[in-house]
């Protein structure tokens, strides 16, 4: 499924919001790319800029938002420079979105069949009868039971989990290349969450779409994502493959996030948390924005922003701790345990590979 061909590139994106209090620098130089067929998770606290990033990809920024720099390349065009009309053609056709709260994201006065069929009618000019037939197919695909009888029901006649399935059906009806899922399971019960995540994985395989998965729940990321980008205060601070982020994190903020996530191995009475609150983006601090909350902060962190240091070909982190001259620090216990696990996994993997090779060779002989 995955390939190295990237279909979306966000380059040095900077977005400000003009408010009465002043200019809020919500996105401060964010770059990433999305590869065909992969799931990229963007993780971070509330207010870290995850949602603003995706809105700018959809061209759905609020009126007081100002693009202060950067570009978003999609099929050789800059989304940020598109006209309203071009954006309308993009939305719901090539890039679709699933929202956080299924209880409020469906029009309460429109039959759901019509709501699912709408993007087809708008983008492909499909006639209503045909569009409804396709909507029915999509309803079956997303697992709505008794779809034939329910196509003319209204949203209030469905449960939260079913409504989220409907929202997914709306997003996928045009087989978009990119699906943006903005915390799609946050508002759901834990049991329903798992169902929706399974469904998304299944559909991704069926219709081969790339997913940008926004969440603050690392537990969800582990099972969903191929790659993870960790955002803090309007910047990406670390990105890498899901294994790299989970088992070999380098940025103290990622350490904090992972340590504050309970696991089966968590013992003790207290769940660690990251002290303090994110900085005020009206006036972002000089240097590393995370420094005031970072118990591993160096002197340079308060003076100069750390650049990205390469950990592996796929793994980068923006922390001075990776600088060759930086003092060696010991990460939290939990992280050390994770790294140990990762090393073991790597070893197993290479052994398996070797084993595999040997087998192959034997077969050839």
């Amino acid at each position: 499924m995955e390939s190295n061909e990237s279909i979306l590139q966000v380059n040095h994106l900077k977005i400000n919001f003009n408010t009465y209090a002043g200019t809020v620098k919500a996105i401060r130089d964010v770059s990433f790319d999305l590869k065909k067929g992969e799931t990229l998770a963007i993780v971070g606290e509330s207010g870290s800029g995850k949602t603003v990033t995706t809105r700018s990809i959809m061209g759905l920024l609020a009126n007081n938002a100002v693009v202060a720099g950067g570009d978003i390349q999609f099929h050789g065009k800059d989304v940020l420079k598109m006209s309203q009309r071009e954006l309308e053609q993009l939305r719901g056709a090539e890039i679709a979105q699933i929202f956080q709260d299924p209880m409020t994201s469906l029009d309460p006065t429109m039959r759901i069949g019509r709501q699912i069929a709408e993007p087809l009618m708008v983008h492909k000019g499909v006639k209503k009868d045909k569009a409804m037939a396709q909507a029915l197919e999509m309803m079956k695909l997303v697992g709505i039971t008794d779809a034939e009888n329910r196509i003319n029901d209204y949203p209030h006649q469905f449960s939260g989990g079913m409504r989220q399935r409907i929202v997914i059906a709306i997003a996928l009806i045009n087989y978009p290349e990119i699906l943006i899922a903005d915390e799609p399971t946050t508002a759901l019960d834990v049991t329903i969450q798992a169902q929706i995540l399974d469904l998304m994985r299944e559909l991704q395989n069926k219709i081969s779409t790339s997913i940008i998965f926004i969440t603050h729940d690392l537990g969800v990321v582990a099972g969903m994502a191929d790659r993870v980008a960790v955002m803090y205060a309007g910047k990406i601070v670390e990105y890498g493959t899901v294994d790299e982020i989970f088992y070999n994190p380098k940025h103290p903020y990622t350490w904090g996030l992972l340590s504050s996530m309970p696991t089966l191995e968590t013992n003790g009475d207290e769940l660690p948390s990251i002290p303090g609150t994110p900085p005020d983006l009206l006036d972002p601090p000089k240097g590393d924005a995370f420094a005031p909350r970072n118990s591993y902060a160096l002197k340079i962190d308060t003076q100069r922003e750390p650049p990205f240091f390469k950990v592996s070909d796929t793994h980068y982190a923006a922390t001075w701790l990776l600088h060759p001259d930086a003092p060696k620090v010991t990460p939290p216990e939990q992280i050390i345990a994770r790294q140990a696990k990762f090393a073991k996994m790597q070893q197993q993997l290479t052994e398996e590979e070797r084993h595999h090779k040997v087998e192959e060779e034997e077969e050839q002989q």
Binding site: G92, A96, T104, D107, T109, M110
Partner: protein, 309 residues
């Protein structure tokens, strides 16, 4: 649906009965008799006439007689215009009142929706400011002041339309405008507030994410949802127009029942007061019934016959 309607009509009749009772006794508390200004008649002659009309009996007996009459659709004869049955009086005068009321309702509500929606869509621009000013004026200028202004400027100064009287559509225009101003302003204000909320809701965001154009989003999703609460104010607006019509019909000399109502109260014309009250009550209750049915049509969540879940 049929079951629901039957139930509603039963309640409607019950309410009507209570209205009749309360109005009857309140009316009897009014000072004076229908013969107040007949000084030429001697007290014994007056007594004879009152007795002839049954007005010397105890009030509770008069009430029972009246109610039994109503059950037989006998509303009595007017004291004011001797020998004219009240039912004839009303039926000959209800036409102009209904016409004015319906015209005012249409002229108030539909432009109100359009103007209010425009204000919300162009929030915080000059369009919004203008519509807000217009609707504040509509609410704060009393209809009778507007009526006189219209008569003076459009009727007298410009001479475009007749000032008063009744006789064809052109005669209805000024009183309709005077009556419609306040419902127009109420609707516009209400729709604006509601639509601003709706336009900020998640399903509008989703509609935009589907790639609908701005006007597509408004037409297919925002408008209908903004209309739901407006349906609730249709009842009060109808009351507004009915009470307004009493004054407006007087100012424009429209031969309607509003005008008749005022006159009948001034002359203690008991049967007419009662009959007009009944007519107004029935009209209002029918409007409320229609509103409730409309509600279900616009908002599937409160549809009366749930298509079962």
């Amino acid at each position: 649906m049929a079951k629901y309607l039957i139930k509603r009509i039963f309640y409607l009749l019950l309410t009507l009965f209570i209205v009749i009772t309360v109005t009857f006794f309140m009316m009897k508390l009014l000072p004076g008799t229908p013969l107040q200004n007949q000084q030429k008649l001697s007290p014994s002659q007056q007594h004879l006439i009152l007795k002839q009309y049954g007005l010397t009996k105890p009030v509770w007996q008069q009430y029972l007689i009246y109610v039994s009459g109503v059950f037989h659709f006998n509303f009595g004869t007017s004291f004011q215009f001797s020998d004219q049955p009240v039912s004839y009086l009303i039926s000959s005068r209800i036409g102009p009142s209904l016409q004015l009321g319906v015209q005012a309702m249409i002229l108030g509500v539909i432009p109100g929706i359009v103007v209010g929606a425009l204000g919300a869509i162009r929030k915080n621009t000059w369009v919004d400011a203008t519509t807000t000013i217009v609707s504040i004026l509509g609410i704060s200028i009393p209809s009778f002041v507007l009526a006189v202004l219209l008569q003076y400027y459009i009727g007298l100064k410009l001479g475009w339309l007749p000032i008063a009287d009744w006789g064809g559509f052109s005669y209805t225009i000024l009183p309709t405008i005077a009556l419609a101003a306040s419902p127009f302003a109420d609707t516009a204000r209400f729709i604006r507030t509601e639509m601003v909320d709706v336009l900020n809701s998640d399903y509008i965001e989703l509609a935009r994410a589907k790639g609908l154009s701005k006007w597509g989003v408004i037409y297919h999703h925002a408008l209908r949802n903004s209309l739901i609460p407006v349906v609730t104010i249709v009842g009060p607006l109808a009351v507004n127009i009915m009470t307004g019509s009493m004054v407006i019909e007087n100012i424009f000399s429209v031969p309607g029942i509003g005008d008749q109502f005022v006159k009948s109260i001034l002359t203690n014309d008991y049967p007419t007061i009662m009959a007009v009250t009944i007519v107004y009550s029935v009209m209002l209750m029918v409007v409320l019934l229609i509103t409730d049915i409309l509600y279900g049509i616009i908002d599937p969540r409160i549809r009366i016959t749930g298509e079962s879940n």
